[in-house]
């Protein structure tokens, strides 16, 4: 007769921690240039401005130092938009040259979620060329062979 448990065991941290969580997974490796265009006197540009601020933080900028974030201020009441110009490999993968978000009716969290869904997934995967082995890892690899020897010696 009992209803199976549904719901969350932990309370959510609120919108700020949700934004922080999304921000941690933003990856701009697949982007060449970001252009944020908005009219500062319009009513609903708060989310666009916040998104611009979050893109300029050092952690996000470090994911791709070559990516340029440009802000375009217009004064003719155009709707605000954010354009991501992709690099070549990402263009082939997504089959589009650039991705555009119309951010008039989106809030900051939604913008970040969309960005993670469409843009961060296009980041090229980095291959590890030469991995430096730590002492523990070396022991593990070579210890499999020498473990038997060591045990008999102790005895």
């Amino acid at each position: 007769m009992s209803v199976p448990f549904s719901g969350a065991l932990r309370r959510s941290g609120g919108i700020v921690s949700a934004i922080g969580k999304q921000l941690k997974s933003v990856n701009l490796k697949g982007v060449k240039r970001i252009t944020v265009q908005f009219d500062p006197f319009a009513e609903n540009v708060k989310s666009t401005r916040e998104f611009l601020f979050l893109l300029s933080t050092p952690k996000v900028a470090q994911t791709n130092p070559k990516c340029v974030v440009k802000s375009d201020i217009v004064c003719d009441r155009q709707p605000s938009c954010i354009k991501f110009a992709l690099i070549d490999s990402a263009q082939e993968q997504a089959k589009v040259k650039e991705i555009r978000f119309n951010s008039d009716n989106l809030n900051t969290l939604e913008l970040l979620q969309l960005c993670n869904r469409h843009v961060s997934s296009l980041a090229p995967v980095e291959e590890i060329t030469n991995k430096v082995l730590t002492k523990a890892e070396k022991q593990k690899l070579g210890g499999g062979a020498g473990a038997g020897k060591k045990v008999t010696k102790k005895k």
């Binding site: 611009l52 933080t57 201020i73």
Partner: protein
């Protein structure tokens, strides 16, 4: 009290009770009182005072915050709002920037460079600016303060070109708009204003334009005389050269 009790009547002998001193030299404990015994705690719980609630009719239309007196507005906010109004009224040039993520070091450097040109970089919260600007003629700048921002005040509007030069070097500061001599200007208008020559140059241009009409008329009237004089000049020079050549021979 002892003097009032009569001593001559029988069975009315009183004696002072033996005094037992509880406190000796040490500090008394009031910060960590002992938990009372259950019976004593029961008596205390029952004898707690109950104060009458104010009648609901009186508090009916007050909000919960007013009823429980949760948060009072800090009067210091009003003082800062007055300061903002003062800055807005007395500066001929006000420029508002959007501020991206910037280190304190960098913004200090910008602040120093601006200070050398008598430009003052300030930043206030949106609530305070709203308080300062609501109902005044500056109300239109309110939508610019929804996100991270800074404001630059200057008592001299000619400094716009130096201001733009300094902030061009800072990629984190994005110009949004400004107020020049009580007129709200957008970003493009502000840049155009910076390109314009100063007031004296503009006045000189105006004078030149006004004189042009009359000057044109004078030029037309004197056209024939001027061309005649030029032809004579050329002729005289030509004769002079021929004379010099003949003398040399």
């Amino acid at each position: 009290m002892a003097a009032v009790i009569p001593k001559n009547l029988p069975l009315i002998r009183t004696s002072t009770p033996a005094l037992q001193f509880l406190r000796f030299r040490g500090k008394i404990n009031i910060q960590r009182p002992k938990e009372p015994h259950y019976e004593r705690a029961r008596v205390i719980a029952v004898t707690q005072p109950k104060y009458p609630e104010p009648p609901k009719a009186g508090t009916c239309f007050r909000t919960r915050a007013e009823r429980t007196q949760q948060q009072l507005e800090n009067p210091y906010n009003e003082i800062i709002a007055r300061e903002v109004r003062n800055w807005l009224d007395h500066s001929k040039l006000v420029a508002i920037f959007h501020l991206n993520s910037i280190t304190a070091d960098e913004i200090f450097r910008v602040r120093v460079q601006l200070h050398k040109q008598n430009l003052h970089l300030k930043s206030y919260g949106r609530k305070i600016i709203g308080q300062a600007v609501e109902g005044t003629r500056y109300e239109a700048i309110l939508p610019l303060f929804h996100s991270n921002h800074c404001i630059i005040f200057s008592p001299d509007q000619q400094k716009i070109s130096t201001l733009l030069k300094i902030t061009r070097k800072v990629p984190q500061m994005v110009l949004l708009g400004g107020i020049v001599e009580k007129t709200l200007l957008s970003r493009n208008e502000l840049m155009a204003y910076a390109q314009m020559p100063g007031l004296q140059a503009a006045q000189a241009q105006l004078v030149q334009t006004l004189n042009q009409a009359a000057g044109n008329l004078v030029q037309q009237l004197q056209a024939h005389q001027n061309s005649f004089v030029q032809v004579l000049d050329v002729h005289a020079k030509g004769e002079g050269k021929a004379d010099a050549a003949a003398e040399e021979e």
